[in-house]
């Protein structure tokens, strides 16, 4: 059993046209930069991408949109992205918008073997249309199903050869949830260490959820909204 692969190209080698893939990150924070670049190089297309956001025009998932590799986005917020908007309006791109907590919880459900979960988010709104509703203690909930994805691609701060992962600050976000939810989970990390190099009490994603791991290179870690204190 060896989970360690050489690089992003090897990690994503078998991702195919039409696959459903999850990509961790919130905005441009904690996104799997190396794997996105490899997916662009590979040119795989007709992908369904489950990711909270869709990147910006020239970074993150935006790079895959530029190459018309994405058939459908499942996201909670698809911000400032002109190419995204163009493809959406022209009908080239399908978009399914779902509440952010529902997105997170549907990943959790997959990782925890729960086929569906109840959430109040969207009750009484168009999000509830066509969905099964149920009342608990007088409050309305939607039944939301666990995601199914061929691949989950996540970015962590540190990882070990067993696939254990630790995230840094708010770069954690959806990464540990998607790591649990993929049929095959690929992790790129800033620092890859040997087994025993991480504190077992501080691991966010146990290695059982991770199938392939590699140490990424040349992280740009672009900041979307640089904001500083007035002095």
């Amino acid at each position: 059993m060896n989970k360690v692969v050489a690089n992003a190209d090897e990690a994503i080698r078998d991702i195919s046209d039409g696959n459903v893939i999850m990509l961790g990150g919130f905005g441009l924070c904690g996104i799997p930069e190396n794997c996105i670049a490899a997916l662009v190089r590979k040119g795989v297309k007709d992908l369904t991408c489950i990711s909270n956001n869709a990147g910006v025009d020239d970074f993150g998932i935006g790079l895959m949109l530029q190459k018309r590799q994405v058939k459908k986005m499942i996201s909670s917020y698809v911000g400032e992205n002109a190419e995204f908007e163009r493809q959406l309006l022209s009908g080239e791109l399908q978009v399914e918008l779902i509440p952010q907590g529902t997105l997170a919880t549907r990943c959790l459900a997959a990782g925890y073997g729960m086929p569906a979960v109840y959430t109040p988010a969207g009750a009484g709104t168009e999000v509830a249309e066509g969905k099964e509703m149920r009342s608990f203690s007088g409050k309305e909930y939607l039944l939301e199903y666990a995601f199914e994805a061929h691949y989950a691609i996540v970015k962590a701060w540190k990882g070990d050869t067993e696939g254990n992962l630790i995230y840094k600050e708010t770069a954690r976000n959806f990464n540990p949830l998607m790591a649990m939810a993929g049929r095959v989970t690929i992790a790129e990390v800033e620092h890859l260490v040997d087994a025993g190099g991480l504190d077992p009490d501080c691991i966010h994603t146990p290695g059982i959820y991770v199938h392939r791991i590699f140490q990424g290179v040349n992280y740009e870690k672009r900041i979307e909204q640089r904001t500083v204190r007035k002095t």
């Binding site: 441009l28 952010q100 907590g101 109040p120 168009e126 701060w157 949830l177």
Partner: protein, 218 residues
């Protein structure tokens, strides 16, 4: 005179209580953090996975791994904790967040809120707003009383697609502070120099005026 955005934030900050865990939405709500009253402590939650938001970083100290839900670079305070998005919305759904402050395009007299979608315009998504409004124990809306055309945004019924139903508890606008009650918007305070008549005129939904209405003071 109508309140400035800063004054709306300042007025909302008076609703904070010691020990509150608070989620502040993007825009005016974010400014509330600048006016936390002396002597009380609140902990700010960011739904992307942080309890204990600190001030914006000093120039040059920005950390790309540390952002708020508006994707702005931030810092943390001592005693902060990071967690994943499922736990973040878990604590929101479980009612552990004491107060949510967010903006709105429209609010109805029943407390319905619309703030995510305008038909005909590019829809960017609801982000975490639907989870927040469906779950929060206490929601205060920060908004301008009327739209740029001068039309009321406090309505009998929302005309825009809803974000959540019967969830808003209190509204602070540039003109007034109002509670959402079973019988409609109840006027609590006026902005300095704003008449009850002006508020009546600019409120399309049912407005209750319980006698004398004090002016806000800052």
């Amino acid at each position: 005179m109508p309140l400035t955005k800063e004054q709306i934030a300042q007025r909302i900050a008076k609703e904070l209580r010691d020990g509150f865990y608070v989620n502040l939405g993007i825009g005016i709500p974010t400014l509330v953090a600048n006016y936390i009253p002396a002597g009380i402590k609140v902990v700010l939650q960011s739904e992307n996975g942080l309890l204990g938001i600190g001030p914006f970083p000093e120039e040059g100290k920005e950390d790309p791994d540390l952002i708020n839900a508006g994707k702005q670079t931030i810092t943390t305070i001592p005693g902060s904790a990071f967690f994943d998005s499922a736990m973040s919305f878990g604590m929101i759904r479980a009612g552990k967040v004491d107060l949510t402050v967010l903006g709105a395009m429209e609010v109805s007299e029943k407390g319905d809120i619309a703030n995510w979608k305008i038909p005909g315009k590019m829809v960017k998504g609801m982000g975490g707003a639907m989870d927040l409004v469906a779950s929060a124990k206490n929601i205060i809306v920060a908004m301008v009383h009327t739209n740029p055309k001068g039309e009321s945004k406090l309505l009998s019924y929302c005309t825009l697609p809803l974000t959540g139903v019967r969830c808003v508890k209190k509204i602070v606008t540039d003109l007034a502070v109002l509670d959402v009650t079973e019988n409609g918007f109840k006027l609590l305070e006026r902005a300095p120099g704003i008449s009850i008549d002006e508020i009546k005129t600019k409120t399309e939904g049912k407005l209750i005026v319980p006698g004398e209405i004090p002016e806000m003071s800052f």
